[in-house]
Symmetry: C2
Subunit: 219 residues, 2 copies
DNA sequence: AAATAAGTTTAGGCAAAGCTAAACCTTTCT
DNA sequence: AGAAAGGTTTAGCTTTGCCTAAACTTATTT
């Protein structure tokens, strides 16, 4: 029930990411793990023989309960490690994903729980994504995209989408980070860009591509 | 020159462990990595094609300079992670080896150096083994086995051999740990067991099997 | 010097994981 | 309904990594 290869775990994680508990097309799966169609079909067969997925040929693949549990456990490890890398080792939030991609496959229950303790049982990772807990429960994903806010509202940034290195670099340039508070001072009806005013009075414009990947809660 | 599989790295590490810069027989190598002879022969051919080892058929295998550098880097990672697990996460020194065996394969130069910084650039791991430094230099292995000391000498434990879980359990039972100081009060000429007296006055006997895996320096 | 023992390599398999090209379903369009 | 398009699976091949049995070297013993 336990020992899985790195490849298997990556397929499981992809399945979870794409479909949650629902069915996923083999093409999408292949795409997500960076493989070609036939490789995914085959991989999925191996997973099925281990009881981690259910397959309906030509229709789609779906995680079983065991598969779902595994997926959440891997995600837990991934996000705990990202938290460690940022909080303890001083990495930037744009650097940690590829390293966590490796660390998420380390197998040791004790390690995961000791790491969680060491980090004070965090509920969100450095990007604001919820960390699945040891019991499998997942804290709700908080915040809504900036465009959903109306002019004049006060908000706090709580999460950002992983939209690539350039996105993070831009966030750093604008000194946007989790926990920061702003007032939405203006919305362009031309290109949907928005203007934020920071607490120190400075204000700046954000393109739609930027703001759609930034999530906040209203204050 | 860089990307190596976990299996490759394990062979490299084994080669270093068994022979350092010298030649190693394929049987011993196979034995060390937990494989059979033919698997080692084949693995070694793959390593040779990558320039990491030199082979003389029927004679032995030897690390090249590249191979040696890689071996030391892996060992560095292994021992840094062990240090992290004990110092930061609170693992016992008997638990960390198998986990470090996985962590040593994580690939990220930046991670290794950030981890080393975080641990204050340690020179020895939790078992007292020297940690290869970023420049490839290896601090000298300190201490000599307890039997090498003569009756009456004062000593400090600085290193223990990894002689399996039971050995560590016994050390914990006797409350022996790195840095502890003792006086060697007696040596049995019958079975080479020795008697140590701790600083608090308590004294106890150590079998030859125990003492031969414990290293100390004289005070 | 020849025979035996011990250790190493070759030969032939197998599973995981990937690929391309070809065959096969499904869905959609005419 | 029939045909074209799009996506999925099958077929056949490759590399890594490990295995057993058989052949081959080297070292040791008589
Ligand atoms: Mn991530
Ligand atoms: Mn991964
Ligand atoms: Mn170790
Ligand atoms: Mn290893």
């Amino acid at each position: 029930m336990n020992n899985h290869t790195e490849s298997e775990e990556n397929y499981i994680k992809a399945l979870y990411h794409l479909g949650g508990e629902g069915a996923v097309a083999s093409g999408a799966l292949a795409n997500r793990v960076g493989a070609k169609g036939p490789s995914a079909t085959q991989a999925v067969r191996r997973l099925a023989s281990k009881g981690l997925v259910e397959v309906i040929p030509y229709k789609g693949v779906k995680l079983t309960l065991d598969g779902l549990t595994l997926a959440k456990h891997i995600l837990r490890k991934h996000r705990l490690w990202e938290t460690f890398l940022v909080e303890k080792l001083g990495f930037g939030w744009e650097e940690v994903h590829p390293i966590a991609e490796q660390l998420e496959h380390i197998q040791s229950r004790e390690l995961v729980e000791k790491l969680a303790d060491y980090l004070d049982s965090p509920v969100h990772d450095p990007h604001g994504d919820p960390i699945p807990q040891a019991d499998g429960k997942i804290p709700p994903a908080t915040g809504k995209p900036l465009q959903k806010f109306s002019q004049g509202s006060s908000l706090k940034v709580v999460r950002v989408e992983d939209a690539g290195t350039d996105f993070f670099t831009q966030l750093d340039l604008l000194e946007i980070s989790l926990g920061k508070e702003y007032t939405l001072t203006s919305v362009s009806s031309f290109d949907s860009s928005i203007q934020l005013q920071a607490e120190d009075g400075e204000s700046f414009w954000l393109s739609h591509s930027m703001s759609s990947n930034i999530y906040a809660i209203s204050l």
